[in-house]
Amino acid sequence: MKLSIQVNEGPYNHEASVSALNYTKAALEAGHEIFRVFFYHDGVNNGTRYTTPPQDDINIANTWSELAEKHGLDLVVCVAAAQRRGIVDEGEQQRNGKDGNNIAAGFRISGLGQLIEAGIQSDRLVVFGD
């Protein structure tokens, strides 16, 4: 079955991103296709490579990146939500005149249409948030 996942909260502050990670892993193990993981609201904060979590805790951004590489996941960060919260890739850096970028490996910034498309194309949309 084709599943899409929406993540509405940032890492650590809420359990939502950990729940989404564990759910995604279980869905992949069960042989389902993950059409897309869409990061919205504070969820965009999952996609920064600037985090340095404590050594004795999960590294959430890295876990997403590794999962994306291993399974070819499409991790999409909403551009409007990202602009409000300071998540930047090279394209956004150019467009908005920033002096750097912080997007993590495996994530891409795109529009809300990607969420709508996920709703249309997927058999199920599962939302994790606050």
């Binding site: 609201h41 939500a81 809300l112 249409g113 709508i116 709703g119 249309i120 939302v127």
Partner: protein
């Protein structure tokens, strides 16, 4: 399954205290271009989103309430408001913004977009949807 899906955007949170109301509305506006069958549900504190007379000048933040009035122009004309949620908050239809759309199937007559429904009717609307968007 037909090409057109029934999308239901579920609004349960008050405006301004958190951003969910506004960022949910941004999804609805973008989604309108995809020509799906769109409905919005307002339950719990979500009913506050439609209250008239919102003025954010004193806070210095964006007032997005006018955007609800533009929904009709985007062919988003089904806004379901739960009666029980209104009543618990001491609100009536008169407290909400008048929202209308022009019905293309009825010689573009101006009609009300807001439909007050009971909890049970709302539960049925959820059942009949294909995709539920939660924020």
């Amino acid at each position: 399954m037909s090409d057109i899906k029934k999308f239901m955007y579920v609004n349960r949170k008050a405006p301004y205290g958190t951003i969910y109301a506004w960022e949910s509305l941004e999804v609805v506006l973008i989604g309108a271009a995809f020509e799906q069958d769109v409905s919005l549900a307002f339950v719990d504190d979500g009913v506050y989103q439609l209250c008239k007379g919102q003025d954010t000048t004193g806070l210095g933040i964006k007032n997005f309430s006018a955007t609800y009035r533009a929904l009709g122009d985007y062919d988003v004309s089904k806004l379901y408001v739960e009666k029980e949620s209104l009543e618990a908050r001491g609100l009536t239809l008169d407290d909400l913004m008048p929202l209308t759309y022009e019905d293309a199937d009825d010689d573009y007559a101006e009609k009300d977009s807001i439909r007050v429904v009971s909890s049970q009717e709302m539960a049925e609307l959820f059942e009949q949807s294909d995709v539920l968007f939660n924020f």
